[in-house]
Structures are given as structure tokens and as C-alpha cells.
Subunit: 309 residues, 2 copies
């Protein structure tokens, strides 16, 4: 692919606590604020605790899931007395870090999340973005403590609902397994390393380095699978099968064990061969998702460097 | 030790959801209720969802920690408009399954809990109880899927604050690691096996079997250790060190890594050699406990059988 020149990426936002019980981002942002990290060479850094009310309560959210509030529609919805706290907070964050889709928006928004699923470290992003792919490639080449993967969601940016969509470029860093409300040092260290590498890459890019093109494997969301449920009570009647539990990104084949009912029966997977992820994520019980399924794709990206004035 | 005869144990209560986000007990009790399990040979079984309001909210508790409400004092406190929900519920449970200390109390109360700590399966009980030790020995001899240990707290029964103290005999089954709000099939299977083995032992005891005496190793609580905290904000400034994380019941020696501060420094353990447990338990952040420390003791128990009429 042909060489691409892009404008400098001088303003980055590092966000944590978008979900108030995902502790890596909460403590990373607090530590950066304590250390007064606001500049790294050519890169100015804004650190944001996205949902302080939920952080105080150590809950995912207080009224509604903040990380579903960043669609164009919701960001321009009028505020009334009955507007949920998180929607008001989304509009505040959009003013501070966006506005989404404008030239005032931060160049890169990186939002730190945790999952209870055994996913290692993943970058999650919407439509294909060369900056994100280059940063991903860089992080993957430097980190050895955990598998590093990339997940791509085919959602148009206007319908993109999560905080990172407010930046000109953006991705979520999703790291697990870590229980909600718990801080593990190993996971904290991974997140910190990924954020430090991101900032390091931005400095290299701004300083005129050329980054070679290449290709990466990515996981492309196909669909979600719910738990078996009792049709009247709607309560789940089975758990993720022990053979699927903790096996995120391991190919699921027809006939493989998928659920184990509370009375002991096994439920097999039926359907095409796909890769499960977010397997048994705590917050997805209420969203009626036992796990997501992805196909593996190859993404090709061009060599890039900064556009000279 | 000399042979001991004890009255039959004909009434057992199996409780879950005392903490509303510890899912193994919630789903075990619901499944037993669905299957209408209320009798197993000579044993009548009462299944109780202890804190239904917290279960609905998928939180540990709504007003106050239910499992700290079962002291003699709190159980006889007058109820007013400002009485926390959980204290009212504790008094209801005491009426249903106790009253604590009376001859009307259930013969055995078994309360199912989860922890985010890597503790395997533990039986936790107050002052030394031969029935509990025999059941522990039986479970340990039969279960191969996980380590089975016993933890003993030196608290007089009148000051004992947890639900199992309401029964004539009682223990908590504590199983982990499992995140709050998540149900893992492997952990569910362990809990179910331990409860089934408990009921099996009771049937054997009631039918006149003699159980040999012997000795077991137990962990006896010595003290608790808090996280390092910022003296002004009171926020934690370090996480459990990766070398201590997940190493519950592995002897902690002076000089061993204990915490890792967010700026990267290691904090060493100082003090006598002891065994850590409940390492990085989610619910203990607010109780200012990073982990407990225990000494290992040997408990000897006599052969027992049921007292004939």
C-alpha cells in the first residue's frame, strides 16, 4: 500500500473509570493525575476520570451505562430534570474532549476498561483506522506479558456509542481477567505499559519517524449469544461450560460444549466456526450476552508518517 | 480421644445469597428450590435465599452487611423505621432458622459464599465443633477437584456475627476465585459437590455409622493487614504484589513482596511467618483488609456416632 501522511497527533486523552467498578483505569488515571503527567515531549496529555459518581459507588454506572451514551443523537439530546446522570456526563465529556466529529476534538482518545473474561489485552475500535492499527502493531511488538489482540466493530462513527468515538482517533483498551471492584497489580502493569507505549508511539510519529506498513489479524464481531433462560422468569438456567470458560479467542466448533445447565446437562454449540470473546463478562448478564463471536480477518495498513507543514 | 455420642442431625438449612452478588449460592439454592429438594432420607432440608433484595440488585447488600448482623445483641435490637433492611432480614432469618442458641434452631446451617481470592474451597467456623470437623474430613476425603481447607475463627458464639451461627452447628462454605456477579460452572460444581457430601454425611451419621476420630490441619485467624493508604484521601496507594496475588495459604515470610505501589515500588512483608488468605477479596477494600493472616494448627477430634434413644 502507498505511503500515507497524516497530521500530527498532539493531543491525547487517557480516560478511566468510564465504568466505575473497572479499577485499572481508575487507578491509572488517579496515579497520572497525582504525578501531574500532562505532557510527554510533543504530546499533551489529558487524564479524565470519566464517571466519578460511579467510581465513588464502585458500580458500573448509577443511572445508565455511560459507555452507550456517545451516539450523535444522545450527545445532542436536550437535558431535562429526568435526564440520567450518565447522559449529562457524556455531554460534558463531549464538550471537554470533542465535540465528536469536530476539528476541536482530541487527536486520540484512549479509554481503559477491564473485563472478567480471560481476554488478555485487547484494543477495540470501530471502522478501520490506520493510526489505531499502527499503535496496535507497536504495542503487540513490545509487550510480552500477555497476548495482545485487536477487535473491530463494524459500526458507523455516528452510531458509535462509546467514549473513544469522541476523539479524532480512538480505541478502548480492554484487559482481563479482573473481577469488578478488584485491582490486580499484574493487570494494572499491563494497562500502564500499553498506555506508555501508545504515548511513546505518538511521540515517534510526531517527530517524523516512518512506520512500515504491514498486516495484522483482527477479530471482527459477528454476533452475540445469550444464556439459556427460563421463558417465564427470564432467569438463566445454565452457566458457561467449563470447557468454554476462560477460552476466549479459541475457535468454537459445532458440537463443542457451550453451556452447562444447573441440573448438569451440557448444551453444545451449533453454527459456523467462530472465535468467542467476552466469555462470561459480568456486566453482560443484564445485556443478555453470554459471549460474543467473531471471525478472524486480516487488515492491511500502509506505511505512515507525519505530514510536514 | 474417647468416643462421643451426639443427638441426630435431622434438620439442615442450606443458605445462599447472604451476599447478593456471590452467585454460586444464589443459583444453588434456586436450583434446589426448583427441584423441590426438601428431604434426603432422615434429613429435612430447608433452602433459603438469605438476602433477596441484594440478590435482585446484584450487590453484596443494600443497607448494611447482612452477614455481620447475627450477634445476640443485634438479633434482639428493637426494630424502628430507621432499622436497616438487612437487620430486619437477620431477625426474620433468626426466627425461621433459630432462634440462635435455642433448641428450636436447625441442627446444621450451611451458608454458601464466594470470594475473589484464590482460596479453593474452605469451611469457615467459629469455636471448635466436632460435627463440622467430621464433615470437613469427609468432604476433603471425597473431593479431588480443588484443595479443601478449614478456617477457624476464635469468636465466642454470642459475638459470632454471621448467619451460620444461628444453627446448633454451622459453617460457611467459601469458594473462589469467582468475581462478584459472575457464575462460573467449575465453582458451582464444587459448591454443589460439597453440599451434597454434607447431606450424605448427615444421613450416614443419623443412620448409626461410626466416624473415626483423627486430626486435621486448620488455619486459625491471627490478624488482618490493610492496604497502604494516602493519609489524607484514605485512598489505597498500592495493590497486592503479583507474587502474593493468588497465593492464598502459601507461607508468607519476612522480606517477601506484599504490595506494589502505583508508582512501582515493592513493599515487603515484615513480621512472623504466617499464612495469608482472603488475598485481594473484593468486599474487603471497604473493610480495610488487604488479606488475613493465619497460623496453622492441628485439631484433634474424637470418633462419633449418633446417640441412640
Amino acid at each position: 500500500m502507498e505511503h500515507v501522511s497524516l497530521p500530527p497527533l498532539s493531543r491525547v486523552a487517557i480516560c478511566g473509570g468510564t465504568h466505575g467498578n473497572e479499577m485499572s483505569g481508575v487507578y491509572l488515571v488517579r496515579e497520572m493525575q497525582k504525578q501531574k503527567v500532562d505532557q510527554a515531549g510533543s504530546v499533551s496529555i489529558t487524564t479524565v476520570l470519566s464517571n466519578p459518581r460511579a467510581v465513588d459507588a464502585c458500580r458500573r454506572y448509577t443511572d445508565t451505562d455511560l459507555n452507550r451514551c456517545f451516539t450523535k443523537g444522545l450527545l445532542s439530546a436536550p437535558i431535562t430534570d429526568s435526564t440520567p446522570y450518565e447522559l449529562k456526563r457524556a455531554q460534558e465529556l463531549n464538550s471537554q474532549l470533542g465535540p465528536k466529529g469536530s476539528k476541536e476534538a482530541v487527536d486520540l482518545l484512549c479509554d481503559v476498561h477491564n473485563t472478567t473474561a480471560n481476554m488478555g489485552l485487547c484494543l477495540i475500535f470501530y471502522s478501520i483506522d490506520w493510526i489505531t492499527l499502527h499503535i496496535y502493531k507497536y504495542i503487540q511488538s513490545k509487550m510480552t506479558s500477555t497476548p495482545v489482540r485487536v477487535i473491530q466493530l463494524d459500526i458507523p462513527i455516528s452510531e458509535a456509542y462509546s467514549l473513544e468515538s469522541v476523539g479524532k482517533h480512538g480505541f478502548a483498551i480492554e484487559v482481563g481477567p479482573q473481577p469488578n471492584g478488584v485491582l490486580r497489580a499484574d493487570i494494572f502493569n499491563m494497562v500502564k505499559e500499553a498506555v506508555d507505549l501508545t504515548i511513546e508511539w505518538l511521540q515517534g510519529f510526531n517527530s517524523g519517524s516512518t512506520f512500515e506498513g504491514g498486516e495484522v489479524e483482527a477479530y471482527n464481531l459477528v454476533k452475540s449469544v445469550d444464556y439459556p433462560r427460563d421463558p417465564t422468569s427470564n432467569e438463566i438456567t445454565a452457566a458457561i461450560h467449563p470447557q468454554l470458560q476462560d477460552n476466549d479467542f479459541k475457535l468454537l466448533r459445532p458440537g463443542d460444549p457451550m453451556f452447562q445447565s444447573f441440573s448438569g446437562e451440557m448444551v453444545e454449540y451449533e453454527g459456523e466456526e467462530l472465535y468467542p470473546f467476552f466469555v462470561n463478562e459480568c456486566a453482560y448478564y443484564e445485556k443478555k450476552i453470554a459471549f460474543h463471536l467473531a471471525k478472524k480477518i486480516t487488515l492491511t495498513f500502509p506505511p505512515i508518517s507525519v505530514k510536514k507543514d
